[in-house]
Amino acid sequence: MIGLLLILLPAVAAPIAAVSPVGTRATWILLGVAIVNMVATLVAVTLASAPTLYFLDGYFVLDATSTVFLLLINVLFLGIASYVWGRVRSHPELGAGMGRFSALSLAFVTASNLAVLANHMLVIWVCLELTTLVAVPLVRHGGGTRALAASWKYFLFSSVGLALALLGFACLARSMSLSSGHDVRFFLDQLTLVGQGPSDVWRRLGFVLIVVGYGTKLGLAPMYAWLPETYDAAPPPVTAMLATVQFNAGALALFRVLQITGPADRALVGSALTFLGLASMAVSSFSILATRDYKRLIAYASINHAGVIAVGLGVGPAAAYGVVLYVVSNAFIKAILFLTAGKVRSHYKTQDMRQVSGLIKDMPYSGLFFAIGIFALLGFPPFGSFLGELIIMSGLVKGHQTFVFVAFCAILTITFAATGRSVFPMIWGAPKGGDRPADQSFFPMLPKIAFLSLLIVIGLYVPPSLSSLLQQVAASLGPR
């Protein structure tokens, strides 16, 4: 309980960081709170007295799903905070506006943590909307008109997506009051019971709207247009926060939707997810083929990954473990790639892949991170993304979803070829960096080393305690 209350520490520390006159001091607060937050999360998770723990009048819950996402989000946030701290430490001129930046980042992680811990669908919705409101100025941080336009697009799409999800909840509420005679309550455990009953048209409409609405936060088609522009224009740590922390808060919301879906609605929700997933994968593959911008390429790959996750969730229990493993691995891959892309951009002063060559020689460490990140992105062994995709594909075969399986494999092949064709010359081509030495300071590199280690560990050997946690989450996605 004490540990969980400590999760609210960032909210308390945010105003202090906001009024901090010195940028470096604000980043110290950001890093310090991220560390304390991580420790508090570990204490809370370790000392949890029961597998499912309700608190604050049942509005919040610590179960296997929230534990996995809480750990994941806070590890990622700690890494991103230490990257920011390292960057400002080695480049003090970047300290301008860091008080506001740190405060908003802390508010962002508080809202994400609360979304993850919420046991009430509307609380999750409110917290996701809060993450959007807080992320808008973060996307704009230090940018000009391009960042402003991107933040506007992000805000508009997110708001409309979340409005759709809210409309979906209104449909669910109508279904509950009209047909089943249940009190309208959105507590997860109560909704799980309601979901076992017969379905009706309001409930089916509600679930589809919620899936499409929350899909917007993940960048799923048709509401994906905000993602490449926002990820491209935002500062690298903000992109990493959106692609990992916010993405996982959105993924958790989708997981919760599946957990409350009863057998009567399962096929519809599964089909909707499969359709949205395949559409997203197809759109992103062709965009990867067309783009010459490496930051956009990673952004399109994020849409592709969201598509893989949606297809996996659509498959059902046979692929559930693969989806959970993929979500965890994917978060580390994107954090490594977006943070490295920022370094590459600041060295070459361009995002055009044709202008960047010989990365591995010009910037050996960043080149290595980029190369390994791309291999993991493409689903090479031994990374968790490989095993995750394999389990999802085997789930498709077991479920006799031949058409989806063929389309899934074909799109992945196109993505693989398009990414390799663009990125491999960038990494191993003739060096273009000139005589200017690359900035290889240690501290901003530290979180990437940590993320890479975690990524490899998860791919090679999942510790039994973590494996059991992941299996519990996977089981919760299946029929009850």
Binding site: H141, S151, L156, A163, L166, A170
Partner: protein
């Protein structure tokens, strides 16, 4: 009971008119007046329902009358007044096809309302008006590039969803969540207003070169 139903129907039909007319009048003042009237009409519907007096109902009424009915038009009226904008503002393209499309969307809304309320015919018109509002909100969002028109589209969508939530059978979320939902809307509104002040439609359309990111 019949008197109350008639008054509710009148309010819903007024809401539908407030949805359609500003689309045809094509001035920013008409759009803002339309949004304000939507808030006031929804507030009147809550009063007409005769909801039990509670803190939750108080928050709901404050949201509808004060925030949607007053704050929304006041904020954007001030911003647009300062920006010396011309009176004309097309929320949908000004041509016959668009006006026809508005009619088609309203018909679809009503057909949807009838199809979804077979067992509860008294709620047909409410569902129909809310569905029309959602469809028209999306139509505005899909056809416009200018920030103000997109903001109007988003707020129309928000109002249509709010109307749908007000339809009987009545249900109020727990007080804490009602407070959260009520407070989120002004926050969203201030963010939209911030964008309205900063954004310039030309800057959005003009491709800009990548900037040096700060971090």
């Amino acid at each position: 009971m019949d008197g109350r139903r008639t008054r509710m129907t009148s309010l819903l039909i007024s809401f539908l008119l407030v949805l359609i007319l500003p689309l045809l009048m094509a001035t920013w003042r008409a759009s803002l007046l339309g949004l304000a009237l939507q808030g006031v009409l929804m507030g009147s519907m809550v009063l007409e329902h005769g909801s039990a007096a509670s803190v939750s109902t108080g928050f709901l009424l404050a949201d509808l009358f004060f925030v949607r009915g007053l704050l929304v038009p006041w904020i954007f009226w001030r911003i647009l007044g300062r920006q010396t904008t011309t009176a004309r503002n097309d929320v949908i393209p000004a041509n016959l096809a668009s006006w026809l499309m508005v009619g088609v969307l309203v018909v679809i809304g009503f057909r949807f309302g009838r199809a979804m309320s077979v067992n509860h015919p008294h709620s047909t018109i409410g569902v129909a008006v809310a569905a029309s509002g959602v469809l028209l909100g999306f139509f505005v969002l899909a056809t416009q590039n200018s920030p103000f028109s997109q903001i109007v589209g988003a707020l129309r969508l928000e109002n249509a969803i709010a109307l749908f939530e007000l339809l009987p059978p009545e249900h109020h979320p727990p007080l804490l969540i009602q407070i959260g939902l009520t407070l989120l809307f002004p926050l969203t509104l201030f963010t939209l207003a911030g964008f309205m002040q900063r954004l310039d439609a030309a800057a959005l359309e003009k491709p800009a070169p990548p900037e040096e990111s700060s971090l």
